[in-house]
């Protein structure tokens, strides 16, 4: 999932304190799963904002909503209508950055503020702890490393690790961070594939990663199907 964390309330209040009617909108996808921006958190943030407004003597009305997923156009279709219909002055999104972007593209002159810091692609390690496991680099090499990602889990994204900073299974940057390469080596030992690590991995092509510019995935087969369905509808009409 995309792991996010709520911004400090002070920062959020700084974004929205000048607006009369604010809509706090959560997301039922990853942000809910990582307990940062689901229905519950929308209620908590909504209450906190109302309390803050009252304490500082500001007039502010805080509305609440939560959509199934803010990253899908069809799930946010109703948001612009609500914003216009209820004269919302500003929107606070408790989705990941994708949700904020998508809402911002659709909300005309109404500002959208981020209520979360989008952190990484990761998993729950234990209750209250999430760890990064994928860097979204666009050219998966997990088949070479026993399913453990050196790009995301090595602090230096070294492809021929481990560097000299590995100590007792931990990374040089912090005793709280596992050495990704220690994990890779132990995993490949168990798989009996450690020999694979004798081969040098060549400098990789990072053009599939964010370094190649904003990315898009195009599936021509799906585009074709959609075009055909559209044509059928037109013919039927």
């Amino acid at each position: 999932m995309i792991v996010a964390e709520r911004k400090p309330l002070g920062e959020i209040i700084g974004f929205i304190e000048g607006f009369g009617r604010v809509l706090v909108i959560g997301c039922g996808g990853c942000a809910t799963v990582c307990l940062a921006g689901g229905e519950t958190e929308v209620r908590i943030v909504g209450s906190a904002l109302r309390i803050a407004a009252r304490k500082s003597g500001r007039y502010q009305e805080v509305l609440e909503d939560c959509v199934t997923r803010q990253c899908e156009p069809e799930f946010i279709e109703a948001v612009p209508e609500r914003v216009t219909g209820q004269s919302v002055d500003a929107v606070l999104s408790l989705a990941c950055g994708v949700g904020v972007n998508l809402l911002a593209e659709r909300l005309g002159d109404v500002p959208v503020f981020p209520g979360l810091n989008t952190k990484f692609l990761g998993a729950t390690a234990e209750p209250g702890v999430w760890v990064e496991m994928c860097a979204g680099c666009g050219n998966c090499m997990l088949h070479l490393t026993g399913g453990i990602c050196p790009v995301a889990r090595c602090s230096k994204s070294i492809l021929n690790g481990p560097c000299g900073g590995s100590s007792d299974g931990k990374c040089e940057i912090s005793p709280d961070v596992d050495c990704g390469w220690e994990l890779i080596i132990r995993r490949m030992e168990r798989l009996g594939t450690l020999d694979k690590l004798r081969e040098i991995v060549a400098p990789r092509d990072w053009s599939s990663s964010p370094h190649g510019g904003p990315r898009r995935v195009v599936r021509e087969d799906l585009r074709q199907l959609a075009a055909e369905a559209e044509e059928e509808r037109a013919t039927a009409a």
């Binding site: 602090s155 230096k156 021929n160 000299g164 100590s167 040089e172 690590l197 004798r198 400098p203």
Partner: protein, 327 residues
């Protein structure tokens, strides 16, 4: 002869090589570099010029190398993968070669979070690069030198004559894998290897046995790293906090005994420890020389460079063999 560097000549002639380290200053005072160079002239075959070591901004390795060459010392520039992508690295390497640099050490580089250690602020918020890793960097330099080809595939006319170095942490974790990682560096094209500082000579010798069994010592020149201990606190710190460095209890005891022998006299305690530290360094150099497959030492006297001539002298490694600096 691939580079014609003094270091390469010394090694090819079968001499036991000595390299040392010069740390550039945190400002633009070239006199600091020149002064260190004058102080160290003649006590090593080549001198590593660190590249923003511990992620602290310092005068650039290449610029400092050029200063060092003015004093007729041979530099080994260090190139980390932390701060530059393959475009910048290759550009810098070609520039360095044009300026007369003949040795380059390829390293990953300490993570930028290190810069904020101790009293310094560093730049822990910097964005790192790590476009390539140190092994890939070695292969890139080899490609430039031996195939006349940039990493992207474009051909070049004049090839940089470089003696290519890499580092090895023989006792780093996971220790079983370390000889294999060395093998990858050798396969990538490392002409020489400088190791992380060694205090546990027994464990190092076990690792060297594995290296010899793999035949790696014949394909590259391994220079054992010696970090001159200055006091008990430094030894304890390195043992506890520096990855891949473990200090045997016996050495710790010697240093603490030296300190305690001075009683309350702090100045004497410092002198005692410094003397003991130099003695330990000389002994470690001797032991490294007696280790089969070790072809030299890389001595680091961190912020204590002025003691290097004495240490090298006492180790019986002076004068350095007279091989001409340029082909």
């Amino acid at each position: 002869m691939r580079s014609g560097s003094n270091l390469e000549r010394v090694l090819e002639a079968g001499h036991f090589a000595v390299t040392a380290e010069i740390g550039p200053p945190m400002d633009c005072n070239g006199d600091v570099v020149l002064e260190k160079a004058r102080m160290l002239r003649g006590c090593a075959d080549a001198f590593n010029i660190t590249d923003c070591q511990t992620a602290v901004v310092r005068m650039s390795s290449i610029a400092s190398a050029v200063l060092v060459m003015r004093e007729a010392l041979e530099p080994i520039i260090q190139t980390t993968c932390r701060d530059r992508n393959r475009i910048a690295i290759q550009a810098d390497i070609l520039g360095a070669a044009a300026l007369g640099v003949r040795n380059c050490l390829c390293i990953a580089g300490d993570h930028q979070s290190f810069g904020a250690a101790g009293k310094l602020k560093g730049h822990p918020g910097a964005k790192n690069v790590y476009d390539v890793d140190s092994i890939q960097l070695v292969s890139i330099l080899k490609g430039l030198r031996d195939e006349g080809r940039q990493q992207g595939g474009d051909e070049i006319e004049k090839r940089p004559p470089l003696c290519i170095g890499a580092v090895w942490t023989p006792m780093g974790d996971p220790i079983d894998f370390r000889p294999w990682r060395l093998a990858k560096k050798v396969e990538a094209g490392a002409d020489f290897i400088q190791t992380q500082g060694i205090y546990d000579m027994q464990l190092f010798r076990q690792q060297m046995k594995r290296v010899r069994d793999m035949g790696l010592h014949e394909q590259t020149a391994i220079l054992a790293g010696i970090i001159v201990p200055r006091n008990f606190g430094m030894l304890r710190y390195m043992d506890a906090a520096v990855a891949g460095v473990s200090v045997p209890r016996e050495l710790m005891k010697r240093m603490s005994a030296a300190r305690d022998a001075a009683g309350e006299d702090k100045a004497q305690a410092r002198r005692n420890q410094e003397q003991e530290g130099i003695k330990i360094a000389v002994e470690l150099i001797d032991q490294a020389r007696e280790t089969e497959g070790v072809r030299g030492v890389h001595i680091q006297a961190i912020e204590w460079e002025r003691k290097l001539p004495e240490i090298v002298e006492r180790a019986g490694l002076l004068p350095r063999p007279p091989v001409s600096a340029e082909a």
